[in-house]
């Protein structure tokens, strides 16, 4: 089905999904992959083997910044069991733009740009031999000055990571490490601040964090000398892996078939490649399958954490809570390559508010750290931390209720967004009203506890999508989608297909197809899967239903448009169509071979109606003034899902965002030594929250339909991580009695703030 057959709805008329009585959508059945996962039958990235398989290990730079003078592989190659060593010379040449950046990150050429940067790789008959051989690769370095802090990287005299990396957006006069620049806004911020009764400006910093997915990157590659290959890997987007690997290896995309394994978490960190081209290059060189699995330390040092930030935000407010002006400067360090989402940070920072005078500036800054990658709503959580902290402080000093102030200034349908256009139908006010009415908001606090609230915003995304739905002879359905299931999406797809076909949920099998089986599918990112693959599933099912109705019409000898679909059966559309008994799906499919052939529904398009989404979080925190330790004692997430297809998994996304936000706010951080090397590259030293660190996270699903989806779905995977940093910071600041400006709010940092407040 072509996109022009699907018309996103606009205006204020009741939407298609609004008021519809669903039979299956909105229920929460068990996930189809659940048994496989609890029994160990599910196959993740490292679970596949092949006859004659080799194991690979990567040689990584121990320096933050160093010129590579010489690589001597002879000792490694002489070791028994070693079959091949690859360096940059084994990859394609002549790449430009982002493909060059990715190749440079996958395998350094002339310069190692960060601690952990790959410089060579070895394939051997066992993982142990490969690791031993990697140690025998002798790399001669000339150590160069390095910089890992965002403000230091922008300062005069900072070591230059790469001359000429800046794009056309950067004004003259900035340090060469500033590679992209964003400026937007409207009105007159100075006039707005002059109108205010109180203006607060503050400086905030956040450290880089890692997505912390439990499954390290892993792949199995097989590539022959003819350039044809197969790749099995854990990824959020295997068509993207196919595209990148083909470019980096200098082969055609169709020569490489990529299969996505089950995935043990991604959160944005598996939207690009790190090891797959290396395994393919080793396989091509040896003509044998090569398996490559990262250690946790490699995941921390050499995959894609978030950007770290340095931010200044200024907000003016009248005594009645009206915000008169907002201004922000957001500096994001994204590692040794362009790409830190400074533009997203700037555009999201003030989106929840209807304010006449705005200015937001973003800087994308390079440093000697790993190339940052997406992490749930990239850039937005940091923006909310700074903005919502200042709003909280204004409310405190003016004696105003924080939710009332947010309601007073909240963006609504028709409000001009901070990034320019007017909002379509949105649900921010509904989340604020639900938060205000929630028992949590009025519950008494104990001594030593504080309460914080915050709003958050994210755009969401559509992207290229291709789906195929084949009916079996018994009337069950096989749905093929191309978006790896990182959050229970197979259950949601099955529910939507079952709803349209009128068959039981259990009769729909959803498969994540490989790259040879469907058209291109954009990566599972941008909270797009339930929206875009869901929309595609609905349209593919409707395509199949049209064909089913056609078969019934032919059998009854009436026109196709005289047949409709109800409860899994073809029925005459009205009394004039004739008197026929309902024809169940299984009866039509049982004879489909003799009535025109297999029945398959399709949908291929780029849906562009992903509705933006808002959330409001309430947090209670307790701070121990002796140790600086914070306990989150109560947490409530209120978020607009548009329409919750599988409410339990929607709640899971809400809770997951809050849990990751708690880690980001309180403990997680990349710690670099003066030598530019990462100091805490294991989970013992990089502390993500465990179950005992978390309270029960309560959820409220708000449903304000998205006009761009047949059922009203909005993505929910990312918005849930936008408010937590600020909501927790506001709660901690209230509990500690001192404003916290820097994340993580670890015990030493809280003790330092308390000490400063006491005048120490």
């Amino acid at each position: 089905m072509a996109l022009d057959e699907y018309k996103p709805q606009t205006g204020k008329a009741m939407l298609e999904g609004e008021g519809r009585s669903f039979k299956q959508v909105g229920t929460s059945p068990d996930r189809p992959d659940g048994v496989d996962k609890v029994t160990g039958r599910a196959r993740f990235g490292a679970d596949v083997t092949a006859p004659g398989m080799l194991h690979a290990a990567i040689v990584r730079s121990p320096h933050a910044h160093a010129r590579i003078l010489k690589i001597d592989t002879s000792a490694a190659e002489a070791l028994d069991g070693v079959k091949a060593v690859v360096t940059r010379a084994d990859f394609a040449t002549g790449l430009t733009g982002e493909m060059w950046n990715i190749l440079e990150n996958v395998m350094a050429d002339k310069t190692a740009l960060y601690d952990g940067h790959a410089v060579a790789a070895v394939a051997a008959t066992s993982a142990l031999i490969a690791r031993d051989a990697a140690k025998l690769v002798k790399v001669e370095y000339e150590v160069l000055p390095h910089v890992t802090d965002v403000d230091a990287a922008m300062a005069t005299g900072a070591p230059v990571i790469r001359e000429g990396a800046a794009d056309a957006s950067v004004p003259p006069g900035l340090h060469p490490n500033v590679v992209r620049y964003h400026e937007s806004g409207r009105g007159d911020v100075e006039a707005g601040f002059a109108e205010a009764d109180l203006v607060i400006e503050d400086h905030f910093r956040t450290e880089a964090t890692h997505q912390g997915y439990i499954e390290p990157h892993a792949c199995l590659a097989q590539m022959g000398g003819d350039g044809k290959g197969e790749l099995w890997c854990c990824t959020q987007g295997h068509w993207n892996v196919q595209k990148i690997c083909a470019a980096l290896l200098g082969t055609e995309q169709s020569a490489l078939r990529v299969t996505a394994s089950e995935i043990g978490g991604g959160f944005g960190g598996k939207t690009t490649v790190f090891i797959e081209p290396v395994a393919l290059a080793l396989s091509r060189k040896t003509s044998r399958p090569v398996k490559l699995v990262m250690s946790r330390s490699e995941v921390f040092r050499a995959t894609g954490p978030t950007a770290s930030t340095s931010m200044d935000v200024k907000v003016g407010m009248k005594k009645d809570g009206t915000i008169t002006a907002m201004q922000g400067t957001f500096r994001l360090q994204g590692g040794a390559f362009p790409g830190a989402p400074a533009d997203m940070t700037a555009m999201c920072a003030f989106a929840p508010y209807n304010v006449a005078n705005l200015k937001q500036v973003g800087y994308d800054v390079m440093s000697n750290r790993p190339k940052q990658a997406a992490y749930r709503a990239p850039g937005s959580p940091m923006a909310a931390f700074a903005t919502e902290s200042v709003i909280d402080e204004l409310c405190n000093q003016l004696g105003l209720d924080p939710i009332e102030v947010r309601l007073k200034n909240a963006s609504r349908e028709g409000t001009r967004a901070s990034y320019g256009p007017k909002f379509q139908r949105i649900g921010l006010v509904e989340t604020l009203e639900a938060a205000k009415a929630h028992p949590h908001y009025s519950a008494p606090l104990k001594p030593g506890q504080g309460r914080g609230v915050s709003c958050g915003f994210w755009f969401n995304f559509g992207g290229e999508t291709s789906v195929s739905l084949a009916l079996s002879e018994d009337g069950s359905a096989q749905l093929m989608v191309g978006t790896p299931d990182i959050g229970g999406s197979r259950a949601s797809m099955a529910l939507m297909a079952a709803e349209e076909l009128g068959i039981p949920y259990e009769n729909v099998r959803v498969t994540i197809a490989d790259t040879a089986s469907l058209g291109y599918n954009e990566v599972s990112h941008g909270s797009r899967v339930t929206y875009a693959s869901g929309l595609a599933t609905i349209q593919a099912a409707r395509d199949a239903v049209r064909k089913l109705c056609g078969r019934a019409a032919a059998k009854w000898g009436i026109p196709e448009d005289a047949v409709k679909w109800e409860n899994g059966c073809a029925v005459p559309s009205g009394p004039n169509a004739g008197d026929f008994d309902p024809l169940p799906i299984a009866e039509i499919t049982a004879s489909m071979g003799a009535t025109g052939g297999p029945i398959v529904g399709h949908f291929e398009a780029t849906p562009e109606g992903a509705g933006v989404s808002f959330a409001t979080h309430i947090v209670d925190a307790e701070v121990d003034p002796e140790t600086g330790k914070t306990a989150v004692v109560r947490y409530t997430v209120v978020q607009d899902a548009g329409k919750a297809i599988h409410p339990t998994y929607v709640e899971g996304q809400f809770q997951g965002g809050a849990a990751q936000g708690i880690g980001w706010a309180l403990n997680e951080e990349y710690i670099y030594g003066e030598d530019g090397r990462l100091q805490n590259a294991v989970f013992l030293d990089y502390r993500i929250p465990v179950a005992s660190d978390l309270p029960m996270i309560d959820t409220v699903i708000v449903e304000v339909p998205n006009p761009g989806h047949p059922y009203g779905v909005r993505g929910v995977g990312e918005t849930s991580i936008c408010p937590p940093l600020a909501a927790i910071a506001n709660a901690v600041s209230a509990a500690a009695g001192v404003r916290l400006h820097e994340l993580p709010m670890s015990p030493p940092r809280i003790l330092e703030a308390l000490e400063r407040q006491r005048g120490g």
């Binding site: 400026e183 806004g185 997406a374």
Partner: protein, 81 residues
């Protein structure tokens, strides 16, 4: 004519203009016409932009329709995690 609003960081390239009017019936035609009207925008547009048409964010599809009375905003390319 379609009035295309620019984010403020682009205005220095567009001679200080906050918006540019172009003849276009689709997003792709609009972007091509913008470059023709203001060649200084070419690098930015080629680098990747999204477009909001009547509040609906079009991430990349050039065939999306644009009407003469549509409210059109040029935006930085939207991406996600």
């Amino acid at each position: 004519m379609v009035e295309v609003h620019l984010w403020s960081g682009l205005r220095a390239r567009a001679g200080g203009r906050e918006s540019i009017e172009v003849e276009a019936e689709t997003v792709g035609e609009m972007l091509d016409a913008l470059v023709e009207a203001c060649p200084e925008l070419e690098e930015i547009i080629d680098g990747g932009v999204s477009v909001a048409v009547d509040g609906r964010v079009i991430a990349s599809t050039r065939t999306e329709p644009v009407k003469p009375n549509s409210e059109v905003y040029l935006m930085q390319r939207i991406k996600g995690g």
